[in-house]
């Protein structure tokens, strides 16, 4: 079966030793914590030529010990802490943390933690499946949809069991939760013209993912066919309406990265000077948080051992606050928001987004489309890049559907590269739809590294933006 719905024996077995390590190190260091991860993931990939079963990129098992040494925090990442290597690990941490350096440190203080001991569980809902059943389902779908101009569909189902334990002097937290992703990447070919389209989604239930597969295949193969008649856009400023995927991309890239408060510590974020000020149309309310909705980044506590929260970043156009990891909050004298995340136990914790979205408004999508004289309905995230200090944006969408006099013309543009100044875009928002959707299938880097799973989305928005 893909899910065990049980907390890993490995975590539970190592708990006493981790507690001992913390106690011993606490004799020398003001602050000590240990995050233990045991993430198990299986990815089943099927296309017309091959089938593969591999571990997911999230699969990992290891320890990261953090201590406050000579004014700097020191971390040590290792696969295992057991009776045999206990003393070795202890000595290595001490050696690193007590090193004399000729470099001025940031004067950090110790984390002030509340006492808490809790285990959180969110099992896979509904029916579980075996690998052979999933292979069979995906193979049938690929065979059904690869025909005519659709020359291949790369499809996958990915099941991840997240199991993490955080222990410090005052905390003992354990979490188990699951998340399933499915996707279909369709390729169409008409003579020498080759087009591609992707559709993916995330689910708290494998059964739900399986039930939704037909939609995922249907959508990606339809778009791959439609893109055969797509033309590049004429560069210019246009009225656009976004689908939830593009709303999420804008929320994430245009504003989300800019309110990551480790950027405040580094004097890297313009938003620091805009708290309490208007940054968007009054129609916009923006959330981020592992607790803000149920999606791919809905954990119970972050990698710093801070409980999940729902942070309102923008409330009716006014910037309220940013999001932060524990260390940044400590340095800024603010409260952490449960956004401390590591790419893996081998990497540092940074402030990272989780589930980021614009809340729904009052307009119907139909009315929004009717209100457009000329513009585009922009669909499906390709990629984006942040610029937290200077608020430039670049968001790339797969395609746009032309709207003229309030109706779709059947013309399609691709690719759609939107750029400009964040505030200009957010202030131009004139309508927000009354339905929202958060898509739990994305990954996000910080700069060009530190990849973590995120979700984003929200309601459709009507705005003005530069395309081209």
């Amino acid at each position: 079966m893909m899910y065990s719905n049980k907390v890993s024996k490995f975590l539970l077995k190592r708990k006493p030793l981790v507690r001992k390590l913390i106690d011993v190190l606490s004799n020398e260091f003001e602050y000590v914590s240990c995050l233990v991860t045991d993430v198990k993931g299986t990815r089943i990939v099927v296309d017309k030529t091959v089938t593969n079963v591999t571990p997911t990129s999230l699969t990992e098992s290891g320890f990261v010990v953090r201590v406050l040494g000579k004014n700097v925090y020191t971390e040590y990442s290792i696969n295992d802490i057991n009776d045999k290597n206990f003393n070795f690990v202890l000595e290595e941490i001490k050696k690193e943390a007590l090193k004399k350096r000729n470099i001025e440190p940031v004067k950090t203080i110790k984390f002030d933690e509340e006492e808490i001991t809790k285990t959180f569980i969110r099992n896979n809902k509904g029916q579980d499946f075996k690998e052979d059943e999933i292979i069979d389902i995906l193979t049938k779908k690929v065979n059904e949809y690869v025909k005519d101009e659709i020359i291949n569909v790369y499809s996958f189902i990915e099941c991840n069991e997240y199991q993490k334990m955080f222990i410090s002097k005052k905390k003992e937290l354990i979490q188990y939760y699951t998340w399933t992703n499915s996707a279909a990447f369709a390729i169409s070919r008409v003579e020498s013209s080759i087009k591609e389209a992707y559709s993916g989604n995330g689910y708290p239930s494998l059964e739900e993912a399986i039930n939704d597969l037909d939609e995922v295949f249907k959508y990606s193969t339809k778009v791959a066919k439609d893109l055969q008649k797509a033309k590049p856009p004429t560069p210019g400023i246009y009225t656009i309406i976004t689908n939830p995927s593009i709303t999420g991309l804008i929320a994430h890239e245009a504003f989300g990265h800019g309110v990551e408060m480790d950027m405040y510590v580094k004097d890297r974020a313009k938003s620091k000077d805009y708290i309490g000020k208007s940054v968007a149309s009054p129609l916009i309310t923006m959330h981020d948080g592992a607790k803000a909705t149920l999606s791919s980044a809905s954990y119970f506590f972050d990698d710093d051992g801070v409980l999940a929260q729902d942070t309102v970043i923008i409330d009716k156009g006014i910037l309220k606050r940013g999001i932060s990891d524990a260390l940044s909050a400590l340095e800024l004298g603010t409260s952490p928001t449960g956004n401390g995340r590591r790419e893996s136990y081998k990497r540092k914790s940074y402030t990272r987004m989780t589930n980021t979205f614009f809340s729904k408004g009052k307009s119907t999508l139909e009315d929004m489309i009717k209100s457009v004289d000329f513009g585009y309905y922009i669909c499906d995230t390709n990629n984006g890049m942040e610029d937290p200090k200077n608020w430039g944006i670049q968001c790339t969408a797969s395609y746009g559907l032309e709207i003229k006099d309030g109706k779709f013309t059947g013309n399609i543009i691709s690719p759609v590269v939107m750029s400009g100044y964040v505030i200009d875009l957010l202030e131009s928002i004139s309508m927000v739809s009354n339905k929202e959707k958060v898509i739990g299938s994305g990954s996000c880097g910080k700069g060009y590294k530190e990849w973590v799973r995120v979700s984003d989305g929200g309601a459709s928005i009507k705005a003005r933006v530069k395309i081209g």
Binding site: T49, T51, S77, D132, K348, K389
Partner: protein
């Protein structure tokens, strides 16, 4: 541990073949905030990726799992059996694993200085280049030592040690009207403090230029010069279609012998794949790698890819070398930098969609050259046809060697839309 994994794999009859990749990583990391040390990290990990193969009904199935800590024999057998179960339901066309000739260990030269010495010197280079108005808001230093060991049931037994130093930095400048910053990620395969110093100085010069940059309306159609990593991306995209996997799927517009450029391009482009160092001369399948000429003088010469897909295409598998080599151009910098053009210093990220015939990007900093006059510009974007860019490309004589790429430093592409 690799021996005990092999021993157990050999005891299970249904395992037709196996491969194991052992990855040992030792990394030292230092994180600076506004010039001061905030965090240090040590990573000391070893992981094993085990793939088991099961031949059945003239087909082959494979399944992989990761081992991150010592397992009891019972636990290991359970993992192998789980993988075996899945492999029996996979009906891929049969192929052979790479056969090894002899055990081989290839190691790159390690860095001369210890991390502690290295990080002090690097910190001093960054500090010396900084002042009240031009400085680095964040610097992250990663020194990595990676040992890889690939073994399989067909006598492949190859190992290597590679070293690298990565520095992420955020140069910033307090201009008259606003503070500006740029993003930089520099990767070094050898310890060269002079090169680090040169890059640091370049970063400060660039961010100073961004502070002076203005949005200029009406640039219109303009030639574009790309450099360094953007040049790398430009060429990397040109060979995407020629992987065995793309060819097998029918996703390649051109085939061997076709021209990817028009009949009379400005420069006939040659792109190869090659190992970046001696230690990188084998891939994850255990194929010993050599240079593959993918594009020669604008024509597709070879496909490239993994052992499995090479055999499916009936081609001797090339493997996948880790670096791109592009033949240098015939233009010196003075010739390239003639006339009216935009020299792109920093993009949000270059966007190349070969299947949509698109190249473009949001420009965070560029220098508009107009017959000798230089104006820093920002807040604009460019776009155009990727195929036209391939045909109009002029390449510099000057070359660079960065991680994953050796070739022209600059490329000039004609008539892009700038707005």
């Amino acid at each position: 541990m690799i021996k005990s994994i092999i021993k157990t794999l050999k005891e299970i009859k249904e395992v037709s073949d196996y491969s194991i990749i052992e990855s040992k990583e030792y990394s030292n990391q230092a994180f600076f905030v506004l010039g001061k040390l905030e965090t240090t990290r040590v990573v000391n990990v070893t992981e094993y990726l085990v793939t088991i193969y099961n031949r059945h009904d003239s087909k082959i199935g494979s399944s992989s799992f990761v081992i991150s800590h010592k397992l009891s024999k019972k636990e290991l057998i359970a993992k192998i059996n789980e993988a075996l179960y899945a492999s029996k339901f996979i009906f891929n066309k049969d192929y052979s694993l790479v056969e090894g000739l002899k055990k081989k260990s290839i190691n790159d030269k390690g860095f001369e200085d210890s991390f502690d010495v290295m990080v002090e010197k690097i910190h001093s280079i960054y500090s010396n280049a900084s002042n009240e108005i031009a400085k680095f808001n964040a610097v992250e230093v990663f020194y990595n030592e990676k040992k890889n060991h690939v073994v399989n049931s067909k006598c492949v037994n190859l190992s290597n040690t590679v070293y690298s130093l990565n520095i992420e930095s955020i140069p910033s400048f307090n201009g008259k009207d606003e503070k500006v910053e740029l993003y930089r990620f520099d990767e070094y395969v050898s310890l060269d403090y002079d090169l680090i110093k040169k890059n640091v100085e370049e970063a400060i010069e660039d961010v100073k230029a961004r502070s002076e940059a203005k949005k200029i309306e009406g640039i219109g159609e303009c030639d574009i010069i790309l450099r360094n990593n953007d040049t790398f991306s430009f060429f990397e995209n040109a060979i995407d279609d020629f992987s065995y996997r793309s060819v097998l799927s029918g996703e390649n517009k051109n085939v061997i012998g076709d021209n990817i450029q028009s009949l009379k391009p400005k420069t006939k482009i040659s792109i190869s794949l090659t190992p970046s160092s001696k230690a990188n001369s084998f891939d994850r399948d255990g194929i010993l790698l050599s240079k593959i000429d993918v594009i020669k003088d604008g024509k597709v010469l070879n496909y490239y890819g993994s052992n499995q897909f090479g055999q499916y295409l009936g081609i001797k598998p090339s493997g996948v070398p880790d670096s791109l080599f592009v033949k240098k151009g015939n233009k010196d910098k003075e010739q390239l930098f003639e006339g009216r053009f935009l020299e792109v210093i920093a993009l949000s990220g270059i966007q190349i969609e070969t299947r949509a015939n698109y190249i473009g990007g949001e420009i965070r900093l560029a220098i508009l050259h107009e017959n000798g006059k230089k104006t820093p510009v920002s807040g604009i974007s460019f776009s155009g046809s990727y195929e036209d860019a391939l045909n109009s490309a002029l390449l510099s004589k000057e070359t660079i060697k960065i991680k994953g790429y050796e070739g022209p430093k600059y490329i000039k592409i004609k008539n892009q839309n700038v707005m």
